[in-house]
Structures are given as C-alpha cells and as structure tokens.
Symmetry: C2
C-alpha cells in the first residue's frame, strides 16, 4: 500500500496515545474512529491500559503491525515512536501532537522527519487536527464529526478547520474529505493535491493556504485538477505579516499568487465564499454561464443581477417567451419579477418555461414570503416543476423560511439567505 493511500484509506490503524480519559485527545480521536464506523482493525496503543473503549490496548513494541498510525503523545516522544512504527512497516502517521517548529522546536521536528524518511513513512502534521475521509468511514481527528458529504476541504490552519467543521455540523451540512496539515513537516499542499485530484469520488477540493511549501509542484499538480478552490490567507500587507507570524509562511508575492494559482483554480475571497464553495461541492452544482433570475421581489432581484454581472455571468433576455400567466406589469425580461402576488401556480409555470428555454443554463430563484403566501407553497412549485437545470434558491426571512429551506435542500437544491450569496454560489459551480 502506498504511504499516502495508507494515510487516507488504511485497512488498519493504531492510535498511539489512546486514553481512557475522555478529556485527552487520544481518547477523542479513538472514539471518532470507532463511532465513525471504520471497518478495519483499530489498535489503541497505551502501555498503561489493557483495554480502551472496548478494544484491547497494546504497548508500541508489542502492537500488531498496522497500515497507519495516529499519534497524540508529548512531542519529545514522537520521533522515537515514529522510529518504532517505521521498523514495524507502518506506512504513514498523522502527528496530532504540538510542540514542534510552531513553538521553536525546529530540531525536534527535524528528528521526526528523519525517522520517518528512514523507513519511507509519510507524516501528516505535526501540530494538526487530523483528517476525515468519509468515503472510507475514517475519522482520525479530534474535531467534531460532521455527516458525510461530497466536499473536500484542506486547511493549513487547524483552527479554521475546526471552525468550519463546527459550523457545518450546526447547519447539518457534511464533508467528504477534511485535511488539517499543520506544520507540513513532510506532507504538504503539493502532496495533497497530487493525491486527492486522482480520487474518483472527489469532484472538487477547497484549500485554505497561507503559503506554499513547494509552489512549483503545487501549480503543476493544479494544472491537471478539475475543480480547485483556494482561499488564501495573507492577501494584503497586514495579512501577510500576520501569516508569517502564524505559520512562518512566506505568503510570497501576492499578485503573483493570484495570477498563477488563479489561472488554474477558483480564488475565494473570504470565509463566506469558502462555505459557498463547500455547498457547491456537496450539491454537485454544475457550472453555468447564462442565468435566469426568477423572483417574487424586485429589490432582491436587482441586487442579485448586480452581483451576477460583477461575477461575469450573463443574464439572457427572456422577453420573447410566453408568460401570459404573469401579471400584466410583472417584468418579463431578466430578472423575471413575478411580483409579490406570485403563488404556486405562477411559480410552477414560470419554472416550466425556464426548464425549456435554451438560452438559460441555470436558475436563481429568489423568494421573500409576502404576508399570505407561505414559502412552503413557493418551494413546492419549484420541486414539482422538476428543474432540468442547476437551481440555487435565495429564501429571505429567517425563521419564516426555515421549513421551505429544508424542503428544497432535501430535493438537492441549495439554499442561501441573501441575493448576493445566491449569485456567488451559482458562480461557483463545478465543471464536469
């Protein structure tokens, strides 16, 4: 088994530093692997315990050989543990432990890498939050376990990773692959994109990067990758200084990063766009060029049109279509403003027209519930019309549109709360 393959899809895993104490990371990680439904062997490694969470525990010398290991023990013991695992033929390790280069212990980190290289092992971390591969039911991380999804998120900042996972969990959204690569002592973003872009189960990958460890290799790998989104930390003078304190990353020439990486990847501007990209990936949203806005409310329709225009998407003229079912003064161009009285019938018929309109690739549906038309009725019309094209819905009105949101999401239609977010989301669709 290739080392990187063993990191993401092992048949067996040892948790070095597994603990009976629920406050220890070694406990939380073991529990996540167990409860995540990992189907291979799980070996807790702790010289002082016989059994942890119902599994027989070993010390590191007597443990059976595994494909990979997750290590959460004090930093100073890590190189020796790597040495012992390597000798046994363990192919890779996730080093959760902190206390290496990020606090000045550069030599200790070097010994870790040296031990790994000696045995041909690959190491993720140290000082990282671990990873998730939901496609393999594998959750070697101390972060909250989100439900499976199709999106992949790879992050240099563990804290941002944790924040994203907690927010996704709270929104009942999922993730397919998550990687926190911490100090990147060995495995870095170039290795990760080379490995992940070949995974058939992944259509796209989002990265948070402060600085590239092997810029040339990363860009080369990007060239063959289909859908890569990159959020860059350190885009400005101040942010760049902050990044150099944080991960000792040279964020490098910022304009150059944008132009070179931007040639092969979609550049995300902020955390909000990162979440939208995750939505696009999870819903398998297809890329579109010509968008029809179907709205019951003028102002939000105008704001969405503004944003689509800014993003370079087209709003084809739709005035030639039969829309006798619209009220006489409703705007028939694009946005199609059905006006506040639009109910199930008008929305259903409008959607049917857009289904067939050849100049429309995708539909941005915007709805603000007027006082006597519940949002549930409106979204039922969308679902019943069986959209033949990518649809993104903007449902405005907080708790007043909560049920309607769930209805659409169940039918595979992503929902956002603001018109500009709708425009951004539909602009982030994936190429086939």
């Amino acid at each position: 088994m290739e080392p990187l393959e063993s990191l993401f899809r092992p048949r067996s895993v040892a948790v070095v530093g597994a603990s009976r104490n629920p406050k220890k990371l070694g406990h939380v990680i073991l529990k996540n692997i167990l409860e995540g439904g990992f189907e291979g062997d799980i070996i807790p490694v702790n010289p002082k315990a016989d059994e942890i969470l119902g599994l027989k525990a070993y010390d590191i010398d007597s443990m059976p050989r595994t494909d990979t290991a997750v290590i959460s023990i004090p930093a100073k013991y890590v190189p020796e543990a790597i040495e012992k695992l390597g000798k046994k033929g363990v192919k890779s390790a996730i080093v959760i432990s902190s206390g290496f280069a990020e606090v000045g212990n550069v030599d200790l980190q070097r010994s870790l890498v040296k031990a790994a290289r000696k045995h041909g092992m690959r190491v993720l971390g140290p000082n990282c939050a671990g990873l998730i591969n939901a496609f393999h039911k594998y959750y070697p991380t101390f972060e909250v376990r989100v439900k499976p999804g199709k999106a992949a998120f790879v992050t240099q900042s563990g804290a941002l990773g944790g924040a994203v996972l907690m927010e996704l969990y709270s929104l009942d959204k999922g993730l397919g692959v998550f990687v926190s690569y911490g100090n990147a002592a060995d495995v870095n973003e170039a290795d990760l994109i080379e490995y992940l872009k070949e995974r058939e189960e992944l259509d796209a990958i989002a990265f948070y990067i402060e600085g590239l460890h092997e810029g040339r290799r990363f860009v080369e790998a990007l060239k063959g990758a289909k859908n890569v989104y990159v959020l860059k930390g350190g885009k400005t003078e101040a942010g760049s200084k902050a990044a150099s304190s944080h991960t000792a990353s040279l964020s490098g020439d910022r304009a150059m990063f944008r132009s070179i990486v931007g040639a092969y990847a979609r550049i995300l501007n902020d955390t909000r766009e990162l979440f939208l990209a995750i939505d696009a990936m999870n819903y398998g949203l297809k890329r579109v060029r010509r968008v029809a806005i179907l709205t019951n409310s003028g102002g939000p329709g105008v704001l969405a049109a503004d944003e689509l225009d800014k993003l370079g998407l087209e709003l084809p003229d739709l005035s030639s279509y039969d829309r006798s079912f619209l009220p006489p003064f409703a705007s028939r161009r694009n946005p199609i403003d059905m006006a506040a009285g639009a109910d199930y019938d008008v929305i259903y018929k409008s959607m049917k027209v857009l289904n067939e309109a050849p100049e429309v690739d995708g539909i941005l549906f915007i709805f603000v519930p007027p006082i006597h038309i519940p949002a549930e009725n409106a979204v039922k019309a969308i679902i019943d019309a069986e959209p033949k094209k990518p649809v993104v819905a903007v449902l405005m009105g907080g708790s007043f549109v909560k049920n309607a949101r769930v209805m659409l999401e169940k039918h595979g239609i992503p929902v956002v709360s603001h018109p500009e977010d709708g425009a951004k989301l539909i602009s982030l669709g994936l190429s086939p």
Copy 2:
C-alpha cells in the same frame, strides 16, 4: 403639527380599510399599531363594522379628525379617501394600497397626489409596506413587528424591507425606524433624509435606493447628515436594467452615484453589509481607525487582518507591550495570536493591556473554541475586563458558540460568525 412630523409621530391615527378579517392587511396593520403600544387615539375606519379589535369603528365621513391615516383599500377609492381626509385636516397618510404607477395606473397615482397637494397633505407610498417608529411606539405596517432598536432603515423595495424585518425578528434583533416608501409619489428619499437627519434619537440611517427622485436635494441633505449608509440597487449594467423594470428608477450614472453619494455617505456593497450596518447602529458602535486583533486562532486572525487592510484600517504594531502572560511563541505583534491554549486568564490579561494601549482605538476579538476551552469562559474574560474601547467579537463554530454569543450581546458587544464580517463591522462604526 408638520405633515412629516404627523407621519412619524402622530397623536392620533385612522386606519382606513381596517378589517375584522385577520387575512386583510387592514386588520394586520391595526393590530400592529395596537399591540405596538401606540399611546394616541386609534380610529378604525370601515363603513360596515361597528367595532374592530375592541375599538369603535367609523365611516370616513363621520370619523373624528386625526393627525394621520393609514390607507389600505382598493386603489381606485384612494384619491377620494385622501380628499375626504384632507378636508378634515388630516396632515398625512401612508398609502399601503398597490395598483398605481407600478402596474401602469399613472393617472390614478396623479389624482392621489393632486388630492393630497390640494390640502397640504404628505403621502408615503402608495404601494408601500408602511413604517415603524419604535421611539414613538408606532407600528403602522403589515410587516412583522421587530423589537425596538436604534437602527434606522429606509427602503425603496418593500420586499427587501420585509426580508430585513423577518431576518432581524428571527435573530432577535431590533430596529428603531423603518420606512418603506414604495412608489414615492410624494414623499421620497430626499424628504426622508431631511426629516430623519434632524431626529435626535437617531445616530445613523441606512438606505436601500434604486434611483434618486430628487438627486440634488438628496445630496444637499446628505451633507449635513452624520452617519448615512447607502446600499444601491442597480450598480451594474444588468442590475441597472433590472432596477428600471422594478421601480422605473433611472439608476443613473453608476460611477457618478458612487462618487457623489459616496463623498457624504458610506456605500454598502451588499445585503450582508446592510445587516452589519444595522448592527453598528443598534450597538452604537463608535468609529475607529487603529484596530488590535486579539485571537486564539491564527488562520482567522490572518483573514481578519487581510480584510481590515483592504478596508483601509490600521493594525498598529503592539510588540513593545508586556505580555509575559502569553505563551513564548504566541505572536505579539498584531494580530496578537494567543494560540489555542488561551483560557480565561490569558484573554483577561490581554484585554487589560489593550484597554490601556494608546495606539489602539478598537478591538477585534476572534475566538474558535478548542476542544477543552468553552467559548463561555473566553467571553466572560472579555466582559470581566470591562472593555474601554469598541469591541467586535467573531465567534466561530455555529451552535458551539451560541451561549457565548448571547452573553456578549447582552453586554453590548456585537458578535459575528466570520473574521471578514468582524473586520467589516468594526469599519462601519459611527462618528460621534
């Protein structure tokens, strides 16, 4: 009583078209005025009812004179009603009814205006959602009644107004003044800014505008106004076309709008910034120039620094301060990265230092709860340190930071979910 004053602060109000039928707007509006706690006389006007919601009802001929009226009857009867009200000495009216210029009935709208002018009445609308003046406990609108706040929002799009009110309601946030001015047949954004900028209870006003009805007067009035935020619909070619269909507004030269209006008002870029401006107003957030970022998480700190830099705020160097209480490798510059282990003690001491640092005007606090440090502990440190400067908090992690968010908000500290939103919010503070 001046007509505009009677529109916002009447001593008595007639609801023309009041109804016993809870599905009618005339019922909802009457109920909102009643339940909102209006302290003046409330007169339901309906020729077919004796009593509505416990109040004696009148027909329009026999009703006692009131300062103002809210009208929700079929469009064709509105000019006559205005005529009768004007004769009685009613000073102003909110015309909720639609069916005027927005559906091509330009002549009917002209008769309405003519009748009002004849009697020196001022009219808000028609085709509007009404207004809210929480300072006067006055809620003549069919929209959801949000709790009182200090923010003011004036909107040309009723649907956007409704969407904003529903979202604020769902977030348990408030509003002091809300105005939907619909077709602007009489009262337009120039009248509104002239009137509202003189109100001592208002520190700031946010506008959603698609096109100016009296551009020169509006800009003149802006010059004397302290804090005005403007979200413009129709900023692009596509949006501008959409706006002209929507409100028949000439959104005019877009670059010129931005440069002229932008000279005296803060231009908001999207709906999200509109909500942030409403937060800034509600919390009375003061304007700052030099910001310290205090964070327990590097990546989000970097992203906030990027955004502050983009917005033109300064991040003063803070490396000279005593921060012996920080871990040795924590970044001491700005962002001050306390690292993931930062607990109550470290956060409290850091805040105390920032309280006294003369080169810091405001503080952006960023917290992502690590696995064993609850967000409640972190925000308690902020509260206990008794901030002497404007603080904006970014709490990341969805439901994991829900209680902490409430704690801070109760202490007058606004909270957002993403680092870039935090930077934007602190950039939207009010001048004194």
